[in-house]
Symmetry: C2
């Protein structure tokens, strides 16, 4: 590939490295055209064609379709490549307060099976875990899911997810992934049941990752806020989820917006959550004489353009905009995403956040971040968990080995994996 | 080393990888004991001793001293190892508004030469660059500095330092480092003069990195704010400097603290900078009847415990504390560092920031970040630039090659470097 004289072992290693970058890009992004792959991995089209040729020949990747349906311009549709769908499976699990969602996808990111099971919000973790495992059993029976191929499991759990001081890493900890103990050993239960590495994180944070990396306009820097019973958030910085020094990064709901405001369940006063959570918004409507019981009532009032609901939503969104504005001055994200069912019902929220944000930004940041409603719904938490696995699983260990005859001694030995993937 | 049968090429590659991790740790941290190295690189003491034995034998590293002077407990003093000081040199350059500082350090992090040159704040960049290069000439004559050994140059420039849209990367860009065009080609001038890779960044941001990684209590997550003519900031998240989507991350000085406040030079009103910069603090003292011209007057007033200066400083620091509190809720840093000469003169600033921050934090973040005055002064900017180079230079390419007889074909070929250091 270069004009240099290289021993065959080196040559093979360089190619293996290129192959791994291509496989990793496909694992993280799902199906991509050669042009997209070349851009993401930083290889020339010529080198890339050589690499994908070998991978296709070995069956490590396959042509899944063309990009004809996504294309806006003219020109010949490009083939889209993906990891061999049958080569690996990934599971995402999202524990909410009252239900668990499970989704299983193949290596090309196609969802093979998904389902949900309900429980009370008082149900203990051990029982929730049992319900989730039972749900997986049912899904297995319905779809062509064979868990021997599971390369990783992502699990989202509610609420702030700090790492308790001095807690030991889970038995399921693969080298190089950030894992912390899940509530009541849910991580260990899944790892033992499926013999696969498990990643656990706050489900709002996982949603932030999913919003950042899914879709054609994926971004490396994103601020995510979700309005629901509380106000949660998640940050993606430089393409990575931010957890913070003790697992509390992204808790935008507890930034103070009114120093002398209402008491918050966290013990402080005037947190963003006391003005912008769904219960806070409903309560404010009552105060102004508009009795709303729930989100359906609120949606009705919005559709009738009731002045009270408009005013309350604008005030809540302005407070949210100020908090997001400070986070934007701090992190300079490319995108701000507001999630939660209420955001879908009341477009004024995103509008007002964008307006407040624009007023609060450093004027030289001429473009400013895009402000958008979340693409994924609250019920898509398992997709977020899946995104974390696609991005973090210890990857490709089960891929067809390089069998190229130019390989020097040892370069196709799987034990080399730990040596080659240096993560300082 | 393991009980497994491994081809000799693999064995050598594994060891080379371990060696590189040890060399990288020493490059980033300077002299360390074997115990510290083992902890940082995650190798057992036995494996590490084997690796350092080989490196010492080859002269790649040397014993520089023992840790006797730093030790508090009992026990035999441990030898401290470092890269061979003569093997490489690194340069840090800090362009302020009115002077440039240059510092040159060897591979063991010992400063070999340093100096400064003054200019007007209207001096164009081309002339500043010429003054800096002239300063380097003089330093070369005075110390044993031989620039053939220069592995990297870090350059700090006054901020903000955004990447203009569509600007091409510098000719000096080494693969894998984040570079953006410097004002008027200062990066290219240094790269061409010294034939070494150049990293340029906002000098406040570089100071944040230096605060995070220097000292025994280095942290991976840090929020840094500097109070001077303006208010700047820098963030370290997960051990990396955060630049943001367009180079504006860390601009905490332009977070709004008083929506109807004074006009800011940025075009908004009531930015943190309008209440917590040095000029804003001096102006507030005048308003309350205490005419202070400069920081020396302010230091006098502080030493006399003048009630006006105490009140003004507490109010400014409380505003700073609210902004830092929001940044802390967002990023959950282990440490908050407040820099700028005024912080040294008026300890009440750090006290008040810590108090406001504690009141503003999520109560479950029981420990909260440490709040500290900066260790490095504004004149230490070149140290920050140096820190960036130690952390980012393309590293070790000129190190004595592995000559171990067990090496398989090609594993000691320098062209392998690009293949082994996979950074997804």
């Amino acid at each position: 590939m270069t004009g240099m004289q290289m021993p065959s072992g080196v040559h093979a290693l360089v190619r293996r490295t290129h192959e791994e970058r291509v496989l990793r890009a496909l694992q993280e992004n799902g199906a991509m055209s050669r042009g997209e792959i070349a851009r993401v991995v930083g290889l020339s089209r010529t080198t890339l064609s050589e690499i994908t040729g070998h991978l296709l020949q070995r069956g490590a990747i396959v042509v899944v379709d063309t990009d004809a349906s996504k294309r806006e311009g003219s020109g010949r549709p490009a083939a889209r490549l993906a990891l061999d769908p049958a080569s690996a499976q990934f599971m995402g699990v999202d524990f909410g307060h009252r239900r668990v969602h499970v989704v299983v996808a193949d290596a090309s990111h196609e969802v093979m099976a998904s389902g949900a099971a309900r429980y009370d919000d008082t149900t203990p973790w051990q029982e929730r875990t049992g319900l989730a495992l039972g749900l997986v059993e049912r899904l297995t029976a319905e779809a062509d899911v064979h868990f021997g191929a599971l390369q990783g499991i992502g699990i989202g759990v509610p609420g702030p997810y700090p790492a308790p001081e001095g807690s030991a890493p889970s038995r399921a900890t693969p080298v190089g992934t950030v894992l912390r103990p899940a509530p009541e050993g849910v991580d260990v239960a899944f790892a033992e049941r499926f013999d696969a590495p498990v990643i656990v994180d706050n489900n709002t944070r996982l949603a932030a990752l999913a919003e950042a990396i899914t879709g054609a306009d994926s971004v490396a820097d994103l601020v995510y806020v979700r309005l629901s019973d509380g106000v949660g958030g998640g940050l993606v910085v430089g393409g990575h989820l931010v957890t913070g020094s003790s697992g509390l990064a992204g808790e935008l709901g507890h930034v103070t917006v009114e120093p002398a405001g209402r008491p918050c369940r966290c013990g402080k006063r005037g947190c963003l959550e006391t003005v912008a959570s769904v219960p806070a918004i409903l309560a404010a409507c009552w105060e102004f004489g508009l009795p709303l019981e729930n989100l359906r009532d609120l949606a009705d009032a919005v559709s009738r353009a009731h002045p009270v609901v408009d005013r309350v939503l604008r005030e809540a969104a302005a407070a949210l905009g100020r908090v997001v504005g400070a986070a934007t001055m701090t992190l300079n994200p490319a995108k701000v995403v507001i999630g939660g069912e209420i955001t879908q019902l009341a477009p004024v929220i995103v509008e007002q956040v964008a307006a407040t944000l624009a007023a609060d930004l450093f004027p030289t940041a001429s473009a400013g971040p895009a402000v958008e409603a979340a693409r994924l719904s609250d019920d898509d938490g398992a997709i977020g968990a899946l995104a974390a696995v696609f991005h973090n699983s210890p990857l490709l260990a089960r891929y067809p080995e390089t069998t190229d005859v130019t390989a020097g001694p040892g370069t196709d030995d799987p034990t080399i994996e730990g040596a080659v993937h240096v993560r300082p």
